[in-house]
């Protein structure tokens, strides 16, 4: 799957091997020093990595922790009563304690709690999951929380996690974009800023793909040609190679010239490889059946195909806008959303394991925040006027990780009696980022980029690695 080995690629791009072994190569590159060749060439991490790829399943909108991975008996016990001490302030007014309508069970040898919503994932994989019940963020609004989760900064323009990873590690497959964000039907809230490259070179930005579409040209920009056949292009590129060789004769010294020659050949190969990577019809029936029907299944399966081909990071958003944002009818809505994704997630983990990819792929599931244990009060214009949903909650929520380097079979940290606030072993989003970078082989304080007079990093001045999550 590799177009060429590392040595030949480097020499073809006019860089000596020495360039890669420079100490600190990763942490001092700066906007002003102008990297001169393909910035996606593979680069070493600070120390040996536990994982090589990331699949981030983004339940955008904010899934409810007390209805999924963080059961609270107190909600049944005090159903309909006021929260002791009142509800913490969230985006909208909430009322009394609202019990979970879902049945919970314990799964695996480790006894991981999970509601019926994710029963398939939990029953097949509980012992692989590190369920973090003590996540917290800063504010109860979608936009800043999405940016925080993706870029470590709630308002200003900063590179996203996937951009940092591809900047730090390069790509293992130059025929595909190294960071792909899939979201069925359109963008999530805050749009492509969620996978922005910020001040990093634009090539590190996530490539958006709508998995509802099925044609190659809709998936990757400019990957198909309406007016020339493959074979025709090959002949034309041979002519180009001849013209370029002539031009290069007297300009041997210039690595940019050589790099551009190579990039045309890479582009030619990318056309077939990129198309192939997204074509799930090439999967055997038992695999297709395992993932099940629907677009969540499709994008999960594509994610596996991409990771298999060396793509560094794949984000799977649930859908356009903010689907998990159940201000009303949470029972119906959450059930529908989970039904769309549970089987696909379970299948993805199984599939990765069967393909031998789970050990090197970090899977992350979660939203930008969680939801309140109290019921959202009806308000004209902001919800549907029912007493059947929950508001945003950044004080405490659940995420889980599995795969590459993750210590599975554990429930880490805890929220309070009602599942409102993280109280034990609290983990901020910055801590999550620091730990992800650690798993990927980076000291989060040293993966930096100089911009506007400062060395920036994903975790800014925050973040601590939570070693308990790491196997």
């Amino acid at each position: 799957m590799y177009p060429m080995n590392r040595r030949s690629m480097l020499s073809q791009c006019g860089m000596g091997l020495g360039a890669l072994s420079l100490p600190g190569l990763l942490d001092v590159a700066s906007a002003d020093s102008k990297p001169s060749s393909n910035p996606l060439l593979p680069k070493p991490s600070h120390f040996p990595a536990k994982a090589k790829h990331v699949i981030h399943i983004f339940a955008n909108g904010g899934p409810s922790q007390v209805d999924t991975w963080d059961p609270k008996e107190a909600l049944q016990k005090y159903a309909g009563q006021e929260m002791p001490g009142g509800s913490p302030k969230t985006e909208r007014k909430t009322g009394n304690i609202y019990p979970s309508p879902f049945k919970f069970d314990r799964y695996g040898e480790s006894g991981i709690d999970c509601s019926e919503l994710f029963a398939k994932t939990a029953s097949a994989h509980a012992d692989k999951l590190c369920v973090i019940r003590s996540m917290y963020a800063d504010v109860p609004n979608h936009e800043p929380s999405l940016l925080l989760m993706n870029t470590g900064e709630a308002r200003l323009v900063r590179p996203s996690l996937g951009s940092w990873l591809t900047y730090g590690l390069g790509s293992e497959n130059l025929n595909l974009p190294s960071f792909i964000a899939m979201c069925p039907g359109g963008y999530p809230i805050q749009e492509s800023q969620n996978w922005q490259s910020g001040f990093l070179p634009g090539i590190f930005q996530g490539t958006y793909v709508d998995p509802k579409k099925s044609e190659a040209k809709d998936l990757i920009d400019y990957v198909t040609n309406n007016r020339m056949t493959f074979d025709g292009q090959r002949k034309a590129l041979d002519l180009l190679a001849m013209l370029n060789a002539d031009h290069q004769k007297s300009r041997q010294e210039d690595p940019l010239i050589e790099a551009r020659i190579q990039s045309m050949e890479l582009a030619y190969r990318m056309q077939s490889e990129a198309t192939d990577a997204f074509d799930t019809s090439k999967e055997p029936k038992h695999i297709l059946d395992m993932y099940g029907p629907g677009v969540q299944a499709k994008q999960a399966l594509i994610a596996r195909r991409l990771v298999q081909r060396g793509v560094r990071m794949v984000q799977l958003w649930h859908g356009e806008g903010q689907p998990w944002d159940s201000h009303d009818h949470i029972e119906r809505e959450h059930r529908k959303l989970a039904q769309e994704s549970d089987q696909a997630i379970a299948a993805l983990l199984t599939d990765l394991q069967q393909q031998g990819l789970l050990d090197e792929t970090l899977i992350i599931w979660g939203g930008e925040f969680g939801r309140t244990p109290t019921v959202e009060l009806p308000k004209e214009g902001s919800n549907k006027g029912t007493l059947s949903g929950r508001d945003h909650n950044h004080y405490g929520f659940t995420m889980w990780m599995a795969g590459g380097g993750v210590k599975g079979g554990q429930m880490y940290g805890a929220t309070d009696e009602f599942g409102f606030k993280a109280v034990e072993k609290r983990a901020h989003v910055h801590d999550l980022h620091a730990t992800i970078l650690q798993l990927m082989g980076f000291d989060h304080t040293k993966l930096t980029y100089r911009s506007a007079g400062r060395d920036f990093r994903l975790t800014d001045v925050h973040g601590r690695v939570i070693h308990d999550w790491i196997a």
Binding site: I203, N225, R227, A452, G453, V465
Partner: protein
């Protein structure tokens, strides 16, 4: 590298403490305790036993040094608060919530609580929990009485990076000093461009000689012509333009060419686009939820820039108009009010006024002064002499202004009638007010001469100070930009950061010479550029020999010129120029260049979508419009090749090459050769060599000219006769014209004299008149396989008698028939095995009455086991499926060639 890294690490640790409010509370609390109990334990060190000392020195002290001293040690600059762990007395501190260390009682020691990591509000060290052994050692040590042999005398603090020290460093920092090199004074008049260029060369030559280097030979005339055109206008020269100056016999051809280009309108366009990177230009606001995100008049700022550069508006005025045009030209009588787009066209951050102000501080301070003032938002700048008070004074200039919108310029900003008091926000937090600030401009750098910012918002003094008090810096920063834009190589490597960490450049004297002359010459951009391109330094060739490379691989001493790859704008403009379609209208509203109808305007007129910048721009290293960009990245990635090989933009351009003769075996050699010559002239602005001529002719004779079987290309739009007795299609012909939304008869309007109302659109169409004029949508199979055919056929009208839809395979095999009249039906057939190249016809029979026969028919064909649906609506084509012809293919390769893309 070490220089860059080490301050970074410590600075981050320092930031960390000043940011995290929970730690800060702890630190302040502990610091308070130090002050009241510090001396009580001073005697303790006298009674330490040897064993206990040994334990401390081997088990405890190393842990403290490694994990704590960075933030809680002697170095004040890095310390988050006043709490220290490097002296016995400061270790032994306590308070109302229990002592930090209680001798003999680890469980009551706050330090232990912090390192055990059980309390979510108190966890130290922040980078991660200590090992259990380390924690146990510290507990053991406390248990044993916390014997501490360290001297209790605080180690002298270095103070080396406090604000006041950075202020004194600023007094000797090269970028803030007077010019070290100025032209010999001639009554305060600057040197002419010619004289200045000679002075520049003298300084470059001096350094070359000192380093055993010498200038490379002059580039040849053709190279120089091309280089000048690209550098000064952003457009390569045409064949004719090159020939004109190649055959120019005058000795001063070069000087005349330079003048001609500087006087062309394209010069201002080139420079405007350069400045738009500095000004983070975009045509929208970024994400603002449901608010209208467009800046419909952003282009007026761009057009002002073009005028400013073309009229050589002195740079000091250029600067001032962009900040205070509301005060210099309030009613826009001089046409300068649009200049304020520099300030008002940034990202809007959901209209958070603090972030909007921050963006403006950043664009002004880095863009004009090379100072990273935005770093001082949360605390005094860690490296540069910029205090938080300096930041909040500048902030006041922006939050003290408002944008009234509308006439005389929608881009203007004016001072608010009433100004608020100015405070520092501690740690950048609005809710956390610090001391009042006396509004002054850059006190850290300007010291005693820092002007008060007391007129209205203070923008006025800010702008004035930039071209008066700060003029040497302002000039240096801009001159460095000009030099970089023209030569491709910066003198100062960090063009927007001339702060204390920026060392004096190798060509310091050249920079100062140019900057000082620039001011004396009345801040003229054109004359400085003229001087630069007249230098021997500029006119060198770009290829090099090994010897010089070994001495100075980075070309710091300018022993050769730098070969450039065309940037995005130049490259696209060059493509338009080669096809001859370029629209050279100067100024006007922005246009979307990445979608049909693919306008032919120069690339600087492209609509810039800040929120979702199209991949086309990002792929070619376009400057991010999110924030000021000091210098573009230069990457080489295959996605660039994909655009050039496959994009509709490229296909559209290649249509400009269809008029050339198509060679074939019978065509005379001479004719083909002419065509090759023509291609080379248009694209590479030169004649081909014999070898090249032959290679192109050979290629054209063997090129594969085939229509690829993309989903779009499987559909054909035609009409024919339906033989109802034999159930077959006879004489299928293509509908000749596309007009509006439909394929139709050759008149291009309906009713057509031959075909009447017959038409086919993306959704459906209208029947033809009679059985010999049935409209037929024909699908041609791209491969063998079994297909399913589906679709919905609908006849909406109540009038007439409806239509009949028939699906016929291979012109004679009827797969299904459906009649609809003011109704709809699912038109689905049984699976059908088909071979590559065979056809499925979707035929509409008008029945008896051909009027009122508008129909809708979404026809879908899908192979079994294939997710792709060939969909007549989705894959509707407005052009006939076609391939690139031979010459277009050859032209494309010339356009992709390195010769086309690089400028020697």
């Amino acid at each position: 590298m070490a220089l860059i890294c080490s301050p970074l690490r410590s600075s981050i640790q320092a930031f960390r403490c000043s940011y995290a409010s929970s730690w800060l509370a702890v630190i302040l609390f502990l610091a308070f305790l130090v002050s009241i109990t510090g001396t009580v334990w001073a005697e303790a060190e006298k009674s330490v036993t040897a064993d206990k000392v040994h334990f401390f020195e081997t088990k405890v002290r190393p842990v403290l040094v490694q994990h704590c001293y960075d933030c809680h040690g002697a170095d004040e600059a890095n310390r988050g608060g006043d709490f220290r762990l490097d002296t016995p007395s400061s270790m032994l501190s306590g308070g109302s919530q229990g002592p930090a260390i209680v001798k003999g009682e680890p469980s009551k020691s706050r330090l232990v609580r912090a390192i055990e990591y059980d309390d979510s509000e108190l966890q130290m060290p922040p980078e991660g929990k200590l090992t259990q052994e380390e924690i146990d050692s510290i507990k053991q040590w406390i248990q044993d009485g916390a014997e501490d042999p360290r001297p209790d005398v605080p180690v002298a603090t270095t103070h080396k990076s406090s604000f006041s020290d950075r202020q004194s460093q600023a007094k000797s920092h090269w970028a803030y000093q007077a010019f070290i090199d100025e032209p010999v004074k001639q009554e305060d008049v600057g040197l002419s461009s010619m004289d200045l260029s000679k002075e520049i060369d003298k300084r470059v030559a001096r350094k070359l000689t000192k380093n055993n280097l010498k200038f490379s030979p002059l580039a040849n005339r053709r190279t120089l012509i091309r280089r000048l055109y690209v550098d000064l206008t952003g457009l390569p020269p045409t064949f004719e333009q090159i020939e004109k100056f190649l055959s120019d016999k005058g000795e001063d051809w070069y000087e005349r060419l330079v003048s001609e280009l500087l006087d062309s309108a394209t010069f201002g366009e080139r420079m405007a686009r350069r400045w738009m990177d500095v000004a983070r230009y975009a045509d929208n606001k970024g994400y603002v939820f449901k608010e209208d995100r467009e800046y419909p008049y952003a282009y007026r700022y761009r057009d002002w820039l073009i005028r400013a550069f073309n009229t050589d508006l002195p740079y000091d005025e250029f600067l001032k108009y962009q900040i205070i045009a509301d005060q210099l030209d309030p009613d826009n009588s001089k046409g300068h009010l649009d200049a304020m787009g520099m300030l008002t066209l940034g990202r809007r951050f959901l209209n958070n006024k603090n972030d909007v102000a921050d963006d403006r501080i950043d664009v002004v301070s880095r863009g004009f002064l090379g100072i990273t003032v935005a770093c001082a938002r949360c605390h005094d700048h860690k490296f540069d002499p910029v205090s938080a008070a300096d930041y909040y004074s500048m902030r006041a200039a922006f939050v003290g202004s408002e944008e009234p919108g509308g006439d005389p310029s929608p881009l203007r900003m004016v001072d608010k009638p009433k100004q608020d008091k100015v405070f520092v926000f501690l740690r950048g937090n609005q809710a956390n007010r610090g001391p009042d600030v006396e509004r002054k401009f850059l006190t850290g750098i300007l010291g005693d001469v820092a002007p008060k910012m007391s007129t209205g918002s203070g923008r006025f003094e800010m702008a004035r100070s930039m071209v008066e008090d700060c003029k040497t810096l302002t000039a240096r920063v801009y001159v460095n930009r000009l030099w970089t834009w023209i030569t491709g190589q910066p003198i100062v490597d960090t063009p927007s950061d001339f702060g204390l960490r920026c060392e004096a450049p190798v060509q310091h004297d050249v920079l100062d010479l140019m900057a000082s002359n620039f001011i004396r010459e009345g801040w003229s951009t054109k004359r400085l550029i003229q001087a630069i391109v007249l230098t021997r330094t500029y006119k060198q060739q770009s290829s090099h020999g090994e010897d010089a490379y070994a001495i100075d691989p980075e070309n710091r001493y300018y022993w050769k010129a730098k070969r450039r790859r065309m940037d995005f704008e130049t490259f696209r403009d060059a493509l338009l120029l080669a096809t001859g379609t370029i629209d050279q209208t100067v100024g006007g509203p922005s246009v979307k260049i990445d979608s049909a109808p693919f306008p032919d305007r120069r690339t600087l007129y492209a609509y810039i979508d800040r929120q979702n910048l199209p991949s086309l721009f990002r792929t070619f290293d376009f400057a991010s419009p999110d924030a000021h960009v000091a210098q573009r990245n230069e990457t080489t990635v295959p996605q660039q090749g994909l655009v050039l090989m496959n994009s509709d933009i490229m296909m559209n351009l290649l249509d400009g090459f269809t008029k050339t003769e198509t060679p074939n075996k019978e065509a005379s050699d001479a004719k083909s050769a002419d065509t090759v010559g023509d291609l080379f002239k248009r694209i590479l602005a030169r004649a081909p060599t014999a070898v090249e001529r032959k290679a192109i002719v050979d290629f054209c004779q063997n090129a594969i000219v085939e229509i690829p079987m993309t989903p779009e290309n499987t559909w054909n739009y035609g009409y024919g006769a339906l033989n109802t007795e034999l159930n077959r299609i006879e004489a299928f012909q293509k509908l000749p014209m596309f007009s509006g939304k439909s394929w139709m008869g050759s008149d291009g309007k309906r009713p057509d004299k031959d075909l009447g109302w017959a038409s086919l659109s993306a959704e459906g169409g209208h029947s033809g008149a009679g059985l010999d004029r049935c409209v037929i949508r024909r699908w041609v199979a791209p491969r063998d396989g079994k297909v399913n055919i589906r679709g919905k056929l609908e006849h909406p009208s109540e009038k007439g008698d409806g239509v009949r839809g028939i699906v016929i395979a291979n012109q004679d095999q009827v797969l299904g028939t459906w009649e609809v009249f003011h109704s709809d039906t699912q038109a689905k057939t049984k699976p059908f095995s088909i071979k590559k190249g065979e056809t499925i016809d979707f035929v509409i029979d008008a029945k008896e009455n051909p009027s009122n026969d508008s129909f809708k028919w979404n026809c879908q064909v899908q192979y079994e086991q294939d997710p792709l649906t060939y969909d007549s609506s989705k894959h509707f084509m407005q052009t006939v499926p076609r391939s690139l012809d031979r010459w277009q293919q050859a032209a494309q390769m010339l356009l992709l060639s390195n010769e086309f893309c690089f400028v020697d």
